[in-house]
Symmetry: C2
Subunit: 152 residues, 2 copies
C-alpha cells in the first residue's frame, strides 16, 4: 500500500528511491525535435562531431524524466501544490541511448510557510546516476506541500 504524504511527513536527511528510467534514442530525438533542436540532440552523427561525443539527451529532457519519476514515486501520492522554483541544476555527464538512470531524492530542509497558512516548503536535492554510479545530474528544488491538519 502506498503512503499519502503531507508536509509533516518529510524530515531532513530522509531519502527516496525514485526508481530507474531506461532512455531510448527515439525519446531523446522526439523531445529534442519539439523543445531543443540542437544537432547533437538529434542524431548520433552530429553528436559525434560535437563536444558531447555522440547523441545525447537535452538537459531539459533529463530533468523532465526526473520529474516523471518524482511524480510517480512521490508527488502523486502527496499533498503537493506546486513549486516556487529551482536552484543549482548541474548537468555532469551526457545522457545516452541505452542508459538506465537511477533517480533519488534527499530532503535537505523543511519549513512552514508563514505567508500561506497550512502550507510548508520541502527542499530536495535530486540525484541521477548511471548503473555504474557515475553521476549524471544533480538538482535542488523546493516543493510546497499541504499540512496534515488542513489538507484532510
Amino acid at each position: 500500500m502506498s503512503t499519502f504524504r503531507h508536509f509533516e511527513d518529510f524530515t531532513v536527511g530522509q531519502r527516496f528511491d525514485l526508481g530507474e528510467k531506461h532512455v531510448t534514442a527515439e525519446e531523446i530525438i522526439a523531445f529534442a525535435r519539439e523543445f531543443d533542436p540542437q544537432p547533437f540532440h538529434l542524431s548520433e552523427e552530429a553528436g559525434k562531431q560535437s563536444m558531447l561525443g555522440g547523441l545525447a539527451a537535452s538537459g531539459w529532457h533529463t530533468i523532465a524524466m526526473l520529474m516523471r519519476q518524482l511524480c510517480d514515486g512521490l508527488l502523486l501520492a502527496s499533498s503537493c501544490v506546486g513549486s516556487p522554483g529551482v536552484d543549482k541544476v548541474r548537468w555532469i555527464s551526457p545522457v545516452r541511448p541505452g542508459d538506465r538512470l537511477k533517480m533519488s531524492a534527499e530532503v535537505i530542509d523543511t519549513r512552514i510557510l508563514k505567508s500561506r497558512p497550512g502550507l510548508g516548503i520541502v527542499r530536495f536535492v535530486f540525484t541521477i546516476a548511471r548503473a555504474d554510479d557515475t553521476q549524471v545530474m544533480t538538482q535542488e528544488n523546493a516543493i510546497m506541500f499541504g499540512c496534515r491538519e488542513t489538507a484532510a
Copy 2:
C-alpha cells in the same frame, strides 16, 4: 540574413528578443501526461480545485518552451556547445491556455574558460512575460560557446 554568433559576440547588458509563444491547452496536457502528470496540469476541473485556480502548464513545460524559442532565436545560429547547468529558476505566475508568452534574454556575464581553450561561458537571465507585461518566469543559465578563432 541571420548572424552566426561566437563567444566574442556576446557582451554584458546585451538583450535578445526571443519572440512569442502561443500556449494551447492541448500542448499543456500532452507535456503533463508524459512528464508531470499532476492533476492541475491535466484538466481545467482539477486546476480549479487547486492553488493554481485552473489548468496551468508544468513549470518544466514553460522552461522547455523557452528553450525552443532560445534555439530558434539564438542558439541554432551560434557556436553553442552546451551548458553546465542552471540557477535560480523562479515560477512567478501560472501559464494558462491562450497565453502569449514574450521571451527575452539578457547577458549578465561572459568569461573565457581557462580549463577548456577555445571555449567561453555566457551567463544569461531569461524572462518570460505575458502580453500585459506581468512576469511569468525568470531563469539564470550559463551557456558555453566556441570562440571565433577556433570555431571557424
